[in-house]
Amino acid sequence: MTTLTEAQAQHVASPGSPPPLLEVRGLRKRFSLSGDFLDQLRFKGGRLVRHREFVHAINGVDLAIQRGEALCVVGESGCGKSTVARTVMGLISPSAGEIRYAGERIDRLSPKALLPYRKRMQMIFQNPYASLNPRMTIQQTLEEPIRLHHPDWDRRRVRDKVTEVMAAVGIEPDWGGRFGHEFSGGQRQRIAIARALAVDPEFIVADEPISALDVSIQAQVLNLLMDAQRERDLTYLFITHDLAVVEHFGTRVAVMYLGTVCEVATTATLFATPRHPYTQALLSAIPRLEDDRPQPIRLTGEVPTPVNLPSGCVFHGRCPHAEPRCRREVPVLRPQADGSRVACHAVEEGRL
């Protein structure tokens, strides 16, 4: 095969440029559905056989995030976007593939060797009702990461830092003595953001940080994340299913379907000229306020389960442009004239 993966193509294109802040190559993750070894044993035709089933959550994902950008990963439930976020953060280990942070490989480090990276990378979770320890006060919640990463700091310095991040996210400093349950969802998400900012990270993974919040509160939190990016020079990996948020927030977008990336482009390019048929359907399905827009592209069929992946292109079962080749051959991400990368045979053949 002479085709290049996305990451390789990028290196060929710009040999002298610094490495991306975060780079993921050939990432795969499968989860066993069959339990432990003993659970996997079955009797079949009088013989003992080992039967194993897997959920193929990510099937070969290549991503590169440059310093200062906000890469949004979008897709529908079960497409593996959250698994990408968690694998990147080292919360779950990949089944195959590499994760590099500032050029260094971090996917096989011991917890101790990973510690300095954990200070540089922080995560914000979807549900602020679950991500704050109910038995800790806000002050304790915010002090914990600082104490862990700066054991040499004295009490006063820790406290000053907490006051600073509280001010940065708009929490009153005298709320420190209160507990998480005393706050509304939006305020809790502010606290979760403050906790992520407390160790001065350079990279933040945000997994659906505003999905659990009401519309008026979503805007508050999104503004906060954008302000933090400007003031602290942050790089984001932003996981979401909400395309309107992506259009507003992201510098680049990766669209995922069933564990694979089907299109990567700058936000402006993707929204102006979506190339992959799935991206087109996804964009047309956003409920817009205007009434003069065209009918959404109606996809037929259902998302297949990631247990039995379809052959060839994972999208072929619902794709209006599928041809026999799509059922046989897995498409790879190929660079397009407009700078985007699309994994689609129809686009490659010029049919679309």
Binding site: E76, V215, V245, I286, L289, L299
Partner: protein
């Protein structure tokens, strides 16, 4: 006369901490075949409206006042037997989570037959034929097989189609859909919404769609109500409200949407959050968050913090806001003077 007419609906929950007024002064009508949207954020009372229409409010909640007239019949004082004749039969309901709505131990077919037999004198076989026909209407692939499948064998989108089929089973006059697509993905949501809209149009069924998504309301409904802290604060034709919202809260809600802003720019956020129903501020419940508490010249509009605003007509819309009332009065004055 409207098919459904809700007047001064007042719903209260008697809690240990005291009585909470979940709804007050809710007024609206629904004509035959009309699609009405109810929007608001969580806690605004949209679901309470849906539940109280069929008197499904569970204790400690109760309808404390007002009237709900459906096809000439008053529903608020109706007993269980009378309500049963209407629930599921003439007014049916679609809930948010399809997995919670379907009985996991009964096949799809049994649930549909059960529902038909509860309301009609019909044989099992005939009921199955009706059920099959309804599954075809909601465009479920291989409907005959689905009849004998159980809810867990279907995907989320399919389940919601089954629920719509059940809601349509007895040819109701009104379907109340409470966040029917919130648990679904965008592409599936678009399919389900298009389907619901088509079916309502085709069979002349009224739809009350409850949602927090202004985009969905804009695509599906003809008229809409905006709710805040247990009250309707603005109502009128959907297009007019979407294109030119009058109430500061509706304006704030729309301006907060990322699609209304230039990518990357600061979003227009509404400050603070919705007050708890047990601790409503005096006057207009929105006034602590409102940008128009003060007039352009800096003078305070005291009424906002003191008096609950009455509805004023603005075009085809009705708005409960002191600021809007004041502006309308100012607009009207020169015309009066000219007339004199």
């Amino acid at each position: 006369m409207a098919l459904l007419e809700v007047r001064d609906l007042d719903v209260r929950f008697a809690l240990r901490q005291g009585e909470v007024r979940a709804l007050r002064d809710v007024n609206f009508t629904l004509d035959r075949g009309e699609r009405l949207g109810i929007v608001g954020e969580s806690g605004a009372g949209k679901s309470v409206v849906a539940f109280s229409l069929l008197n499904l409010i569970a204790r400690p909640g109760h309808i404390a006042g007002g009237s709900i007239r459906f096809d000439g019949q008053e529903l608020t004082g109706l007993g269980e037997r009378g309500l049963r004749r209407i629930r599921g039969n003439r007014i049916s309901m679609i809930f948010q989570d399809p997995l919670m709505t379907l009985n996991p131990v009964l096949s799809i077919g049994e649930q549909m037959v059960e529902c038909l037999k509860a309301h009609r004198r019909i044989s099992r076989r005939e009921a199955r034929t009706v059920a099959l026909h309804k599954l075809q209407q909601v465009q479920i692939p291989s409907p005959a097989t689905r009849l004998d499948q159980y809810p867990h064998e279907l995907s989320g989108g399919m389940r919601q189609r089954v629920i719509i089929a059940i809601a349509l089973l007895l040819d109701p006059d009104i379907i109340i859909a409470d966040e029917p697509t919130t648990a679904l993905d965008v592409t599936i949501q678009a399919e389900i919404m298009a389907l619901l809209r088509e079916l309502c149009e085709k069979h002349n069924v009224g739809l009350i769609l409850i949602t927090h998504d202004l985009g969905v309301v804009s695509q599906v409904t003809q008229r809409m109500l905006v709710m805040y802290a247990g009250r309707v604060i603005e109502q009128g034709p959907t297009r007019e409200i979407i294109n030119d919202p009058q109430h500061p809260y509706t304006q704030g809600l729309m301006n907060a949407l990322p699609q209304m802003a230039t990518p990357g720019s600061h979003l227009n956020q509404i400050r603070g959050s919705m007050p708890s129903l047990s601790q409503l501020p005096p006057g207009c419940a929105f006034h602590p968050r409102c940008d128009f508490m003060h007039r352009a010249d800096g003078s305070a509009r005291h009424a906002c913090a003191e008096r609950v605003p009455d509805f004023v007509a603005s075009g085809n819309c009705r708005v409960a806001c002191h600021m809007v009332a004041e502006m309308l009065a100012l607009d009207a004055r020169p015309a009066e003077e000219e007339a004199r």
